[in-house]
C-alpha cells in the first residue's frame, strides 16, 4: 500500500489537530486498503486491481490554479458554481433571491454521515478538501437551474481529489442542479461523498454530464433522505470516464415520497462504469423507479447493482428496477444484480434485466428503407439511450442532454 499512495497531509491541514485527525483516518484506510471483489458491494468491480493497474505513487492534490477562460453553457440561462480541481472557487446566483439560496464552500468542520462499511469513506475523511454546500430555504422555487462547472486542469496526473458536498432542500422548495464535468485529459482519481436532505414537498432534480472523454477515475457516494411527498430525480449521463461508480443510498423516511434514478451510458474501449443503488422504503405509499441503460463497446464493463428494501410498515410501496444493456462487442461485459428485500405484503415490486445485442430485425427493417448499417445502428442506439430523458419537461435541458448523447454515440 505504501507504494500506491504517497500522501502529504500538511498541505491540506490548517492545524496540528486536523492533521492528526486526518492521519488517523488515513491509517484506518491503509489498514484494509481499496475495496476488492471480496466485498459484496464491489463484487463486479475490483477497484483495488483497477487502481493498482493504472496508478503508482498517488499524491493528493492541493492546487487549483486555472488561468484559462471558463466557457459557460450558452444554451439557456442559469446560475453557476465553479469548482477547479475540486476546490470551490465562486458562485453566481443572479437569477435567484439571495436570501433564499445559500451557496458556500463546504466547511470542513462539518461532518459527512458515516458509512461504516465503506473504506473509501475513511480515505475521503483523511484527504477531503471540501466542496460545495447548497441550501434552498423554505417555500422557494428556484427560477433557473444551477450548473456546477467542475473543471480539472492538466496538472492532475496521478493525483487524487476528495470532495465532500451537502445539499439541503427545505419544505416546499425546488432545485434543478446540473453537474458538468470538464477536464484536460490528465489521469486522476476523484472520490466524492455527498449528503442530501429533501424536506417535505420538495423537488430536487440532478443531472450529471461529462463534457468530453476523460481519463478520470470517479467514485461518488450519495446518501440521502426524503420527507413527505418529496421527489428526487437523478439522471446519470456521465459517459466517457475511464472508471465511474455512482453509489446511491436513498432513505424514503416519510410517506408518499418518490425517488427516480435514471441512467443512460455509452461505454467505450477500456471503460468501466457501475451504478449501485439502495432504495430503502421505510414508510408507506412511497414510490421508486430505476431505469439503467448501457451501451457497451470495445472491452468495456458495465455494472448495475440495485437493491430495493421494503420495511414491514411500508405498505403500498411501488418499486421498480429495470436494467437494459446493449452489448456490441464480444469483449464487452455486462453484470447485473437487481436485488429485492421485502418484508411488507401489500406491495408492488418488480425488476427486470435484459442484456443482448442490437435487434437484427430492426436493423433489417431500417436497411430495407435505405439507411446504411452504421447509421441504422446509431439510430437504434440513440433511441435506446434517449428513452431515459423522454419525460423531462424542461425542453432546453433535454436538448442539452440529447446533444451530449449524440456526441457519445458518434464516438462509438
Amino acid at each position: 500500500m505504501e507504494q500506491l499512495f504517497n500522501i502529504n497531509l500538511k498541505k491540506i491541514s490548517s492545524s496540528k489537530e486536523e492533521e492528526a485527525d486526518r492521519q488517523k483516518n488515513l491509517n484506518s484506510f491503509l489498514e484494509t486498503g481499496l475495496p476488492n471483489k471480496k466485498d459484496e458491494n464491489w463484487k463486479f468491480t475490483d477497484l483495488n486491481q483497477i487502481i493498482k493497474g493504472n496508478f503508482k505513487n498517488i499524491i493528493n492534490n492541493h492546487e487549483s490554479s486555472f488561468d484559462k477562460k471558463i466557457q459557460l453553457i450558452e444554451d439557456f440561462e442559469h446560475n453557476s458554481i465553479i469548482l477547479v480541481n475540486g476546490f470551490y472557487k465562486s458562485s453566481d446566483i443572479k437569477f435567484e433571491e439571495k436570501e433564499k439560496v445559500k451557496i458556500e464552500k463546504f466547511n470542513l468542520s462539518e461532518e459527512i454521515i458515516e458509512h461504516p462499511n465503506n473504506n473509501l469513506y475513511c480515505l475521503n475523511k483523511a484527504l477531503t478538501i471540501g466542496g460545495f454546500k447548497i441550501e434552498i430555504k423554505e417555500n422557494y422555487k428556484c427560477k433557473k437551474p444551477i450548473i456546477i462547472y467542475n473543471y480539472f486542469n492538466s496538472n492532475l496526473e496521478n493525483k487524487i481529489i476528495n470532495n465532500s458536498n451537502k445539499i439541503k432542500i427545505n419544505k416546499n422548495s425546488n432545485l434543478t442542479l446540473i453537474e458538468y464535468n470538464i477536464d484536460e485529459n490528465s489521469k486522476f482519481i476523484k472520490n466524492t461523498f455527498e449528503n442530501l436532505e429533501l424536506e417535505d414537498n420538495s423537488i430536487f432534480k440532478s443531472f450529471t454530464i461529462q463534457k468530453t472523454k476523460s481519463k478520470g477515475y470517479f467514485y461518488k457516494s450519495i446518501l440521502g433522505s426524503q420527507g413527505n411527498n418529496s421527489s428526487y430525480h437523478n439522471f446519470i449521463l456521465s459517459s466517457g470516464l475511464k472508471f465511474n461508480k455512482v453509489d446511491i443510498e436513498m432513505n424514503l423516511i416519510r410517506e408518499k415520497s418518490n425517488c427516480f434514478i435514471l441512467s443512460g451510458l455509452g461505454l467505450g474501449k477500456n471503460e468501466h462504469q457501475e451504478i449501485k443503488t439502495q432504495i430503502n422504503h421505510l414508510a408507506p405509499n412511497c414510490r421508486s423507479y430505476q431505469k439503467i441503460k448501457n451501451v457497451l463497446e470495445g472491452d468495456s464493463n458495465g455494472v448495475y447493482q440495485g437493491k430495493i428494501f421494503v420495511k414491514d410498515i411500508a405498505q403500498k410501496t411501488d418499486a421498480y428496477q429495470l436494467s437494459k444493456a446493449l452489448i456490441l462487442n464480444n469483449k464487452a461485459e455486462f453484470n447485473a444484480k437487481p436485488e429485492l428485500e421485502i418484508y411488507a405484503d401489500d406491495v408492488k415490486c418488480s425488476h427486470g434485466s435484459t442484456s443482448g445485442s442490437v435487434d437484427e430485425d430492426a436493423i433489417h427493417y431500417l436497411m430495407t428503407r435505405g439507411i446504411e448499417l452504421k447509421k441504422a445502428k446509431k439510430l437504434l442506439i440513440n433511441g435506446f439511450l434517449s428513452e431515459i430523458f423522454e419525460n423531462i419537461p424542461e425542453e432546453k435541458i433535454k436538448a442539452l442532454l440529447e446533444k451530449s448523447i449524440e456526441e457519445q454515440i458518434d464516438g462509438i
Partner: protein, 477 residues
C-alpha cells in the same frame, strides 16, 4: 379450521421408528471416516479419497454469506453413521428386510411392494445412511441400467465411480460439499448405457430416523450418449426438538444427446410453529451437461426443513446443451429458505430457463439467489429467468438476489421478478363461489405454482399439490 388445529396435525411424517441403530462413534475424525469406509467394505482408493477431503475440510471455513443464519453446528457432537441394526448383513430381497422398516415405508406412503406392482417406480430407499432395498432390479438389469446404492457401485463398478465421482462437485468445492465427500455414507448410483431410455421413473426415498445424526448421502447419475432418465427424490424426517443436519451431494453427468430429469419433493421436518427443531437442509446439487445437445432439468418442491439452503446448478459445457430449473419454495412459521440455481454457460448455443416461485407466510424468510453466467465463448446463448414471490402477512420476507453476467454480444439474458400478495379480487371471487378462505388460497397458490408443478412426473405431482396446500394451511385468515 383454526390455525392451531392445522399446526397440530400438519406434519404427518413426524413419527419415529423404534429400530435398533448401529452407529459410528460420535464426532468427526479420521477414525470415524475409517470406520465408515471399513463398514462399507470400501477399496483403499475410496478411503484415500475421503481422507483427502477430510484434510481439505480442516482448511475450509463454514460459509456465512447466506441470508438465514443458524446457531453454530457442533460437528463433534454428531453421529456420522447410523444404520438400522438388521441391515448389517445386507438383505438379498424384500422379504429379508426388517418388517418394521417396511412398516415405516408403508406409513410414508411408499410401500415398496405395492409401488413395484402399481406404478412401476423402482425405489431405492435410504433409511438414515443405508440403502434398504432396491426394487425392480431385474427389468433394469436387462437394459444394462445400473441402479444401486453407491456403496455397492464403489465395489462393483469402481471404474465408473472413479471416473465421475467428484468430477462435478470437486472434493474441495466448499465446506459442506467437502464434509460430505469425507463422510458420505450412502446414496444412489445410476448409470444409463448409451442409447437407452430408462423404462421407468427411478426413485429414492430419504428418511432421517435416528437422533443426533447427520445424513450425508451422495448421489451420482450418469447418462451416457443418447440416453434418458427421470429420477425422483423424496425426503421426510421425524419430529425432534434438535436441529438435524442434512448435507447431501448430488452429481449429474449428461453426455452427448443425453437427458436427465431430476425431481425433488423435499418435506423434511420444518420445526414446530415456534421454530424449534427441524432439519438443516444444506445440499449441493450440480449437473454437468458435458456432451453436445445434452439436457439437465431440475424440478424441486421445497416445503419442509427449518433451513433450506441449496442451489441445484447446471454447467452447460457441451454445445447446444440445455439447463432448466423449476422451483417452488414454501416457507411458513419460522422456516427459512435460501435457494435458487446457477446456470453457467460455456458452450455455444446453450440455453437455460429458470422459473422460481417463492411463497412466504407466518414469520418465514424466503430468498431466491441465482447466478446466470454467460461466458465469452458461449456465443448465441440464451437465458430466461422468472422469479415470482408471494407474501402472506407482513411478518415474513421475500428476497430476490439474482447475479447476471453476460460476456458476449450474441447472447441474450432476460430476467423478470415480481413480488406481490394474493389478489383480493381473486379471493373475493372464489369466496363468492362458495370456497372458504383456506380453499381459495390453496387454489390460488396452486395456480401460482402451476408452471412448476406441471414439470413433475405424475406420481409426484399429486402429492406435491397436496403438500403445497398443507404447508400453507393456517397461514391465512
Amino acid at each position: 379450521m383454526k390455525k392451531e388445529e392445522f399446526n397440530n396435525h400438519e406434519y404427518k411424517y413426524g413419527f419415529t421408528t423404534e429400530i435398533e441403530n448401529f452407529k459410528a462413534p460420535k464426532g468427526l475424525s479420521e477414525e470415524t471416516i475409517k470406520f465408515i469406509s471399513k463398514i462399507k467394505k470400501e477399496p483403499p482408493w475410496m478411503l484415500e479419497w475421503r481422507l483427502k477431503a477430510f484434510a481439505r475440510l480442516k482448511a475450509l471455513k463454514e460459509p456465512n454469506w447466506q441470508k438465514p443464519k443458524y446457531p453454530k453446528i457442533d460437528y463433534q457432537n454428531l453421529y456420522y453413521y447410523s444404520a438400522p441394526k438388521s441391515m448389517k448383513e445386507k438383505p438379498k430381497s424384500l422379504h429379508e428386510v426388517d418388517p418394521k422398516l417396511i412398516e415405516t415405508y408403508n406409513k410414508l406412503g411408499i410401500p415398496l411392494n405395492e409401488q413395484k406392482r402399481l406404478s412401476g417406480v423402482a425405489v431405492d430407499a435410504v433409511f438414515d445412511s443405508v440403502s434398504v432395498a432396491t426394487t425392480f432390479k431385474g427389468e433394469l438389469d436387462k437394459k444394462g441400467i445400473i441402479f444401486c446404492p453407491i456403496s455397492e457401485a464403489i465395489q462393483k463398478h469402481p471404474d465408473l465411480v472413479k471416473k465421475y465421482l467428484g468430477s462435478v462437485i470437486p472434493i474441495s468445492d466448499h465446506y459442506f460439499a467437502t464434509l460430505n465427500s469425507a463422510v458420505f455414507t450412502d446414496g444412489s448410483f445410476v448409470y444409463i448405457p448409451p442409447n437407452t431410455r430408462c423404462p421407468m421413473e427411478l426413485s429414492t426415498y430419504f428418511r432421517i430416523n435416528a437422533s443426533e445424526t447427520g445424513q450425508f448421502e451422495r448421489t451420482l447419475i450418469i447418462a451416457d450418449k443418447g440416453s434418458y432418465v427421470s429420477y425422483l427424490e423424496g425426503c421426510t424426517a421425524p419430529m425432534r426438538d434438535e436441529n438435524q443436519l442434512h448435507a447431501a451431494n448430488v452429481e449429474l453427468v449428461a453426455l452427448d444427446d443425453a437427458e436427465i430429469k431430476y425431481s425433488t419433493v423435499q418435506n423434511w421436518y420444518p420445526g414446530d410453529k415456534d421454530g424449534v427443531g427441524g432439519i438443516y437442509n444444506f445440499v449441493t446439487k450440480r449437473g454437468a451437461c458435458r456432451g453436445k445437445n445434452s439436457k439437465i432439468s431440475w424440478t424441486q418442491v421445497e416445503t419442509g426443513s427449518a433451513i433450506t439452503w441449496k442451489y441445484p446448478s447446471c454447467i452447460l459445457q457441451g454445445d447446444n446443451s440445455v439447463g432448466e430449473f423449476y422451483s417452488i419454495a414454501i416457507t411458513n412459521n419460522f422456516q427459512k429458505a435460501d435457494t435458487g440455481t446457477k446456470m453457467i454457460h460455456l458452450g455455444k448455443n446453450t440455453k437455460s430457463k429458470i422459473i422460481s416461485k417463492g411463497i412466504s407466510a407466518g414469520k418465514a424468510d424466503n430468498t431466491y439467489r441465482g447466478l446466470v453466467d454467460i461466458g465469452s465463448k458461449a456465443l448465441n446463448s440464451r437465458n430466461y429467468t422468472q422469479c415470482d414471490s408471494l407474501l402472506m402477512g407482513n411478518k415474513c420476507g421475500a428476497h430476490t438476489i439474482p447475479y447476471i453476467k453476460n460476456k458476449n454480444s450474441s447472447s441474450t439474458v432476460e430476467h423478470e421478478a415480481t413480488t406481490s400478495k394474493i389478489n383480493e379480487d381473486q379471493l373475493f371471487y372464489c369466496n363468492q363461489r362458495g370456497l372458504n378462505q383456506e380453499e381459495a388460497v390453496s387454489l390460488i397458490v396452486n395456480g401460482f405454482c402451476k408452471e412448476v408443478l406441471q414439470q413433475l412426473p405424475m406420481e409426484f405431482a399429486v402429492e406435491a399439490q397436496k403438500l403445497v396446500s398443507i404447508s400453507l394451511e393456517g397461514s391465512v385468515g
